[in-house]
Point group: none
Chain length 224, copies 4
Amino acid sequence: MPRISLASKRSRSSPVRVPPGRVKLAEALKLLLERKEFNAITTAQISRTSGVNEALIYKYFGDKRGLLHHVLGEFLDIHFEQLKADLKGIKGALNKLTTLIRAHIHLYETNRIVAKILLLEVRNYPGYFESESYKQVRRYSRTLVKIIEEGRSRGEIRTDIPVGTIRQAILGGIEHVCLPGIIYNRPFSTDELSAGLCAVLFDGIKAGESGARGRSAARRKMSR
Amino acid sequence: MPRISLASKRSRSSPVRVPPGRVKLAEALKLLLERKEFNAITTAQISRTSGVNEALIYKYFGDKRGLLHHVLGEFLDIHFEQLKADLKGIKGALNKLTTLIRAHIHLYETNRIVAKILLLEVRNYPGYFESESYKQVRRYSRTLVKIIEEGRSRGEIRTDIPVGTIRQAILGGIEHVCLPGIIYNRPFSTDELSAGLCAVLFDGIKAGESGARGRSAARRKMSR
Amino acid sequence: MPRISLASKRSRSSPVRVPPGRVKLAEALKLLLERKEFNAITTAQISRTSGVNEALIYKYFGDKRGLLHHVLGEFLDIHFEQLKADLKGIKGALNKLTTLIRAHIHLYETNRIVAKILLLEVRNYPGYFESESYKQVRRYSRTLVKIIEEGRSRGEIRTDIPVGTIRQAILGGIEHVCLPGIIYNRPFSTDELSAGLCAVLFDGIKAGESGARGRSAARRKMSR
Amino acid sequence: MPRISLASKRSRSSPVRVPPGRVKLAEALKLLLERKEFNAITTAQISRTSGVNEALIYKYFGDKRGLLHHVLGEFLDIHFEQLKADLKGIKGALNKLTTLIRAHIHLYETNRIVAKILLLEVRNYPGYFESESYKQVRRYSRTLVKIIEEGRSRGEIRTDIPVGTIRQAILGGIEHVCLPGIIYNRPFSTDELSAGLCAVLFDGIKAGESGARGRSAARRKMSR
DNA sequence: GATGAATGAGGCTTCATTCAT
DNA sequence: GATGAATGAAGCCTCATTCAT
């Protein structure tokens, strides 16, 4: 799969002059997030690490949390762009889902920062669901739904389970398999986890002859 | 299964007069931990909730975290005592493991506080591994190892995997299946999770005829 | 008129041990308010002036504004107590009003701090109208209304102007005559101002034979 | 009365090219002053409102307060110019004073911004009395004094009160009657207030047969 | 003439902790 | 055994101001 570089995208699509301080702040936060959780990182540390004045956090990102969302947003942008490219050549909904799941888990495997933000920091935070980042997440969610719907209309995916439930099963499943690795900073293998998850999910959501055994259990476990 | 009451143990082993303030503080922290994470709880709140002077936290527990460890220790004491009793009548290492795993998951299911402390608060905290609580955890670990060794000597458990690896697979597996429920405050079923985990683990660690397929994967996933 | 000392009241009615820091903070704010407006006073200054740690402001008064309200409340308490005593022997509503107006202006003349807070700081501050101080002010207002009503039922005060309008005319008049002196820190004479104000007001609000001339103008000017 | 347009004066006396940014900044501050007090307005807001770079405030006006003084100065220029024109045809010192007082109160009634600046912002500010605006105010004061002296030499105004006292009585009186309206943003009527003030003042300062009653009181009240 | 970037000083507030009684 | 009082360090954030381009 051809990987798109971070830099190329930005510079190609918009030759905007980004103030150095702005960039440094984002880089500093990323760096710090590798070692501690967001709440344990102080603005003073961000400032010190970035070599940039603390006040610029507020000038550029509104507040400390705004900076976090910016960092998250950047990662998501890249990921979604990459995903779009990856999905280009793929035929069939299940194949597309496999790609999406792999890519998502791969994102978490290689980018612990975004994983932590998404799985741990950002939830149950008042205002997140009105944030810009959440809009990106919703766009992603819609992409996922479209694939599911395509799969249904092609007879690849069962139609007796609501689309929303399937979507949640997939997203919840991804979370589930990655979470322990993320939390304890343990390495994990995208190959293994995605293969395992797809096996479980497809056995449950695929249309047709699949055995009934284990289905109910799997479904219950995954849907919220 | 006969359950052992909380009070009995303490009073049996040590008829010490425990100062009321000490108890109240611990109770207050437990109460508060049900609603927020440790770092979001202030000593002022603990004092207010307990009706006891803030300074007593320091007199009795050294510092705020000391109080946390005390609370954790209490829970663990009860759990281990209970576990010992539960294991009394059980024959066979695999049966004992089943009991242990069930009890452990049951603890997490019904006592979210201890689950959160153990899975989230206590780790990566400097000094935890020298703490009193950690000693309890090690004692627990030794119990587990003894069961594994018993299983090996009785031919119930493979001997070609290091004991430590098996132990970690079990503990890691427990964590793995409970973590999402704990983190997102979702209910989960001890029955389902322990049955599933035992199936996977025993298929992997049981001696004898079990299929080779998936073994390596399972092992890699569980060990840290 | 017998004046009640500040200390006597507190110590007589409630032998509460007030923490020294609490007192010092209030004293410090009073001192500073003599020289600058509340917003220009920093918590650091209050702390420095009082010789007490900044954090105690928050322990004792919730926040900086809470301290202001406390100071205000203290002054008002004393004033109202004094007023009640002053009104004891007075017969007749107009005589009582004269006493009230005199006392009010006297308060402003001798206590610039309370005057500034009440006339300048406290208004148009969100939350003031839910504050404890405002409750005191309302209690005061009710006392005033009762006097007016007494005057009406005794035929001393016109009944063709709503009580509320009269009350506002009185309070607005007091404000009006004191404001310039307060704002520019100029001395003013309670005797003169209260005599003048009463003359204008009573000519306007008194029942009976008073000349119509000037009434409408006076009324318009005073009511809000 | 013929009103003089704002533009005419500037362009007549100095056909200087005024940089657009300079003008925009002043306009922005005026706009903002309508809604909040100077200290609550930030340079960032001024910049945003004006659409002009923050740094230009410093280039053109030295600092934020310089901008305030500039705005004030502009208003005063216009007012004085207008006043000069208004006074042209008037005969008699008392008539001139009436005109001046009316114009002054009218300025405050219709231009709350200048009123607030002059009555509230600018005083007790270190350096005000060395400022350019204050020079304008002094020029105004001299005009007033000249009128008073003219009135004295023509026998219209008492000579047994120092000119300075009379001047302050007039200026203080204007302040006095407008202040409450300004502070609490209440509308007031130039006609009423100026008529009332002139009545009081002239009764007090006019030479001749006027009653002695109330004189001392009036004088004391007005002088600082 | 105008701008974007950056900054230092300081504001209010929170909190774990100590200590004399 | 318990308490009230007090504190230092630090956290997030705001703002007027400067400077190179």
